[in-house]
Amino acid sequence: MRKLISLILLVIIAGGIVLSLKEIPFGISKIKIGDYYIKKGIEETGATNIVTSVVVSYRGFDTLGEITILFTAAIGLSAVLGTYRKRKAGEKVEPPSFIVKTGCRFLFPILLLVGAYIFIHGHLTPGGGFQGGAIIASAFLLMYLGCEGKRINENTSIVVEVLGALTFIVLGIIGLTIGKDFLFNFLPKGEPNTLLSAGIIPVIYIAIGFKVGSELAGIIDHLIEKNQ
């Protein structure tokens, strides 16, 4: 009965959304802000990857908010798990097999490298701080799976996290103090398509990469190390 009702309700809602979607033209460049970004993005921000220029520059404030959400979630998780830690006695974790162990050890540095590559080149190629950070975090996930007993240093991860976020905010405030707006791109934009271009965008993306990486790794750490 309950399922049926839910189904009916969802059908109605979906119908409504479809009706609304009908009005939206797909594939036609009617999206006016999007058009502007594509046309003027590189010129205004210096980032070749338009997505990055939108994420970090045009809508950089959203990105600041998003890393805050992530931060909030991580802190909240650790706050809840930190107080709600029930120890199950005698729970044994099976040691990983040799293949897993070797594979993980082999992949760990490579993943770190890939992650770093992605966020450093965020303004040039697809990807950026979030993706790079996630890849780094998955490297740590592998480390937890493959290497028994190893874990990240909590203090280090927190310092990295905080510094990453602070870099973002400080860069924003510098923009403010030099008389322009918050998050103003005050560094020289440089030549597009080179690593040292797009002003503060790569700096922010690197900071985000570190922050996201350490944060997600911290979350994994909290989940796995519940029985400490």
Binding site: R2, S6, L9, L10, I12, I13, G15, G16, L19
Partner: protein
């Protein structure tokens, strides 16, 4: 002198009293008495003046106005005087109990807010002071704990119900006429449709009727008056419920104006008759319920409702004599009901909280002054000639009879017979008959209790013999309302249809008294019987086996009690219960299962979408 200074003294004094109590108890007592007296004295100086001032402009866009004229002076002064007597009475009464700082503060706050209500010149400030009075009263009613808690909650719920109704009325008037100032409002309702006038009337009457305890709205009063501390009961009964009376007069004669009021409806269904009949019912039912009470204060509480019925009857009847009787009776009732509550309070104080009429008795020798106060009080209550109650009751009977309202007149007379019965029961069961053994060591009431009792007793006699004093004030109020003033002199009233002259009456009573005294003196002396002389039926009854006060009026009691249950109270209680059950039922919506909660969200959304797609409502 500024009117706002009175309020500043009253409210500021209340707070100051609290803090001074933290320093010194003596200083606080002195301060409390002083403040209440100062207010009364200042108000006395305002006699026969009229002024109007804006005292505060900070509340939204309403300039809050204070005004004084004879009408408000009369009420304010009565309230201030009764209030200060109650505070004097409290001095020893409250000493035994805890939280004295709190008690005095709240008492002064109630008095201050009552004076604020009376002095307000616009409905918004009227409402503000009204609400302050409501909650400060609430905080004081429950002071005695125990059953007082239920009494307090009943009071405040009814009071809030009334005041929200009144608030709608006030704002509705404001939205129609753009003003809440009495002088600007007055007469504006002349052009309103009678439906709207009735709407306003009903809304205000819910509030004023609850405060004034008019019959189906009275249920808060008996528990509240009987459970409150006695000096505060005096304030409650003597003055606080009269705020409702004040409001009714204000509504009928100042805001709506008499001519609109008299033209509202016709014959039996006119507003005038409906209210008057309600007043008559309020006299009848509570009088006989009072007869059934065994608790002294509860008896007085029911009696208060009944007496308020007389006042309403007089006011609503709308002739100049009836209005005068209503207002005069208000004045008298304030005096003798405050007095009676103080008498009961003094007994309660000395007997450590005994109010049960079945277990008291014979205190006449132990507390003679209190007894005399009680005697004069009930004389006033009954309306014995030479007491003030006589004049006001005479006026109402006369009006009702000559204006051809036999049913109302009958109700008023029947009410008086009932009053005689219950007030005799009160006096007898407390002071006459045998003295129970446990009270043999009883002392007299302390001076601070005797003083207000004596003064109020004297006031009853004074205004009984010289009714012209208050009637002069009432007369000038009436001419302000557009009613024809009565022809009065200091001794009474003269008119074509009946003259009352207390001087003649006084002389007559005096002579009759002398004659009776002489007859008694001359005839054979009857034997005096001591309080413990229980010789009956050929044998002496042991002292404590038989107590004459128990089951007073027993047969009558058994006869009428089945008809006089407080059905109204039962009705309200079942209403409260059903709201409670409704609340418990509705709470089941919140099942605790988050799956349902998610469905609620989806349901809400789907419903909106469905309605829009189907009917294009928005």
């Amino acid at each position: 002198m500024n009117l706002s200074i009175i309020l500043a003294i009253a409210f500021g004094g209340a707070l100051l009293t609290y803090f001074s109590g933290k320093i010194s108890k003596k200083a606080r007592d002195v301060l409390a008495v002083l403040i209440s007296l100062v207010i009364a004295v200042i108000l006395a100086f305002f006699y026969n003046t009229s002024s109007r001032e804006i005292f505060y402009t900070g509340f939204l866009d309403f300039p809050l106005i204070l005004r004084i004229d004879t009408f408000s002076w009369f009420f304010a002064f009565t309230i201030a005087v009764i209030g200060s007597f109650s505070i004097i009475f409290s001095l020893s009464y409250i000493r035994k109990k805890g939280n004295t700082d709190y008690y005095y503060t709240m008492m002064l706050l109630v008095i201050a807010s009552m004076i604020g209500i009376i002095l307000s010149g616009d409905l918004v400030s009227f409402y503000i002071f009204w609400e302050i009075m409501s909650w400060s009263t609430f905080l004081l009613i429950s002071y005695n704990r125990g059953p007082a808690i239920a009494a307090g909650i009943k009071y405040i719920i009814m009071s809030v119900t009334g005041s929200v109704a009144m608030l709608v009325g006030i704002i509705s008037l404001y939205s129609h006429y753009g003003t809440v100032i009495y002088t600007e409002l007055s007469g504006l309702l002349y052009n309103a449709s009678s439906g709207y006038t009735i709407f306003i009337f009903v809304l205000f009457f819910i509030a004023l009727g609850i405060k004034n305890a008019i019959w189906p709205l009275h249920v808060w009063l008996p528990p509240a008056h009987s459970e409150a501390p006695s000096p505060f009961s005096a304030v409650l009964s003597g003055t606080l419920i009269k705020i409702g009376t004040y409001g009714i007069i204000l509504l009928i004669y100042v805001i709506v104006k008499i001519n609109v009021f008299l033209n509202l409806g016709e014959g039996i269904v006119s507003a005038r008759y409906i209210i008057a009949v309600t007043g008559a019912i309020t006299i009848l039912i509570p009088t006989f319920i009072a007869l059934l009470q065994d608790d002294a204060k509860r008896l007085l509480a029911w009696s208060t409702i009944a007496q308020a019925g007389y006042i309403i009857l007089g006011i609503a009847y709308g002739t100049s004599e009836s209005v005068a009787s209503g207002m005069f009776h208000f004045f008298n009732h304030a005096i003798f009901k405050a007095l009676l509550f103080m008498v009961v309070g003094a007994v309660e104080y000395r007997t450590n909280g005994v109010r049960d009429l079945n277990s008291l008795g014979g205190l006449i020798k132990k507390m003679p002054v209190t007894f005399v106060g009680g005697l004069i009080g009930i004389c006033g209550l009954i309306g014995v000639p030479l007491t003030n109650g006589f004049v006001s009751k005479w006026l109402i009977y006369k009006t009702l009879i000559i204006n051809n309202s036999p049913f109302l007149a009958f109700a008023a007379l029947l009410g008086t017979w009932g009053t005689i019965l219950y007030s005799y029961k009160l006096l007898h069961n407390m002071f006459l008959g045998q003295l129970p053994e446990k009270y043999e060591k009883l002392e007299r009431a302390p001076f601070s209790m005797q003083l207000p009792i004596v003064i109020l007793s004297l006031a009853i006699i004074l205004f009984g013999i010289l009714p012209g004093l208050p009637l002069k004030v009432i007369n000038s109020i009436e001419s302000g309302f557009g009613l024809e003033p009565l022809t009065i002199n200091i001794w009474g009233i003269t008119s074509d249809t009946g003259t009352i002259n207390m001087l003649n009456l006084f002389v007559a009573v005096f002579l009759i008294g002398i004659m009776i005294w002489l007859i008694f003196k001359g005839s054979k002396k009857s034997a005096g019987i001591g309080q413990y002389d229980n010789y009956a039926a050929g044998t002496t009854v042991p002292k404590n086996k038989y107590h004459y006060s128990v089951d007073f009026y027993g047969p009558l009691h058994r006869m009428i009690s089945p008809y006089l249950r407080d059905f109204i109270d039962d009705f309200y209680m079942s209403l409260a219960r059903s709201i409670k059950n409704l609340g418990n039922g509705i709470r089941r919506i919140y099942t605790g299962d988050v799956g349902y909660y998610a469905i609620y969200i989806m349901l809400f959304l789907a419903l909106l979408i469905f309605i829009q797609i189907k009917w294009k409502l928005w």
